[in-house]
């Protein structure tokens, strides 16, 4: 199968590979997939708890080139978005951007799941503080 130029670019030059300490302030972690299925994504966001804006993102992925590209692209898109805006990223956006063929759509689904899991983890850990900060600001 031939890969799109964008998939190849993300595979060769993955953006934001790495990890944040899980318990660091404002960090939300999503870990989705399963080793026996052949893909696992870890996606992390670092949110400014005062503004609710994602200031940084990191990923690590075990999976095919399209899975790596999907998660790399997701971290690029997450940076600078608010937590609420980030929740609106859809797998179809990733499919369109990377021109993924039908057999690779599950890679984009996994990336969307990873975003959601990271946001949920963030909200569980830091959401209250964000609300408190929001209340204090108003």
């Amino acid at each position: 199968m031939a890969y799109s130029d964008k998939v190849i670019d993300h595979y060769n030059n993955p953006r934001n590979v790495g990890s944040f300490p899980k318990e660091a302030p404002g960090v939300g972690t999503g870990l989705v997939g399963a080793p026996e299925c052949g893909d696992v994504m870890k996606l992390q966001i670092k949110v400014n708890v005062d503004t609710g804006v994602i200031e940084d993102a990191r990923f690590k992925t075990f999976g095919c080139g399209s899975a790596i590209a999907s998660s790399s692209l997701a971290t690029e898109w997450l940076k600078g978005k608010s937590v609420d805006e980030a929740a609106k990223i859809k797998n179809t956006d990733i499919v369109n951007e990377l021109k993924l063929p039908p057999v690779k759509i599950h890679c984009s689904v996994l990336a969307e799941d990873a975003i959601k899991a990271a946001l949920a983890d963030y909200r569980g850990k830091w959401g209250k503080k964000e609300a408190a900060a929001g209340a204090a600001a108003s």
């Binding site: 595979y11 590979v17 997939g33 992925t61 075990f62």
Partner: protein
Amino acid sequence: MALKFPIFMDSHSTTAVDPRVLEAMLPYFTEKFGHPGSRNHPFGWEAEAAADKAREQVARLISARDPKEVVFTSGGTEAINLAIKGVAEMYREKGTHIVTTAIEQRAGLDVCKRLERQGYQVTYLPVGPDGLVDVEEVRKAITDKTILISVMFANNEIGTIQPIAEIGKLAKEKGIIFHTDATQAVGKIPVDVEAMGIDLLSTTAHMIYGPKGVGALYVRRKNPRVRIAPMIDGGGHERGMRSGTVPVPLVVGFGKAAEICGAVMAEEGARLRALRDKLQDKILSSLDEAYLNGHPEKRLPHNLNISFAYVEGESVLMGLNKEAALASGSACTSATLEPSYVIAALGVGAELAHSSIRFGLHRFTTEEEVEYVGDRTVQVVTRLREMSPLYELAKEGVDLKSIQWKAS
């Protein structure tokens, strides 16, 4: 010598036609184009003589007693279909049970599955962690309804060589027909249908530097005389077992390829084994948690299959694909989107099946190519591990099996 890219190291899928083979074939496309069945003119005689010579060359490579025992087919898949279905149909009155293994090539498994739907019973024997079938398990699986034992000679993914002579002996003792899919073994290691008690043997030309589109089924004529029902009806070619005009240029190429393999086998095998061992040592000594799949000794000299824990196979191939052509047992590289059932049958876990890479050396592989592919594989795996969450977790001491994975 300068390296030429991409480097082909996928010889379990196919091989290049040897230039000597092509040269032998060429006249049979143009000036010597006769039909071997034309009995009444020189064009036919010439074609028949050429096909007969090829039959002898193939027979000699597998130590068949009589060239008439070689039935030309369109390839390995057809030979396997003809062998298993042919016996099943011919001996249905006698019994409806077949013994085979879980790691047969797709054709063997799919034929057996079809026969099951038609009322036959099939036992799929498991293999050990080294990929070997236990002869005692074969013995235990045999019932009074067993009409066929079908066990591949050498596996197409892990190269493991089965105890064929022992199974042949058992089959003879029990009076059961023994078929082996030898597409990966013929021409690479000694295959002797007489000494090994093989009754039916499937093989193909394109795995031994011959052309695609031709193969053969060896059908024993004596001790015992094996009969098979034909799958293709027509002019009664190939002693009625495979109708259809014999493709003389392809068959001539097959014969020439078989002759060359017979002449160079010992030397070529030793050379490829040394190169393979070098590749294996380079990779295993440079990387932690890289595991050899298959039996360390009882395997084809040109085969190497390694699982690289924590990285997925297709991503490794992608890192190499402008430079080297390899294969993986990863689901993403298979037509069925399932990870390799062969690696999974070794009991290593599906995650290591996704992580397996197969290297297939061949006649035209050079030492420089081996060095290059070895180095690049290590680099690519190392880079991918740096981006692998599983490698990170493992390095932190987390047992990956303790994690509740959420598969989507």
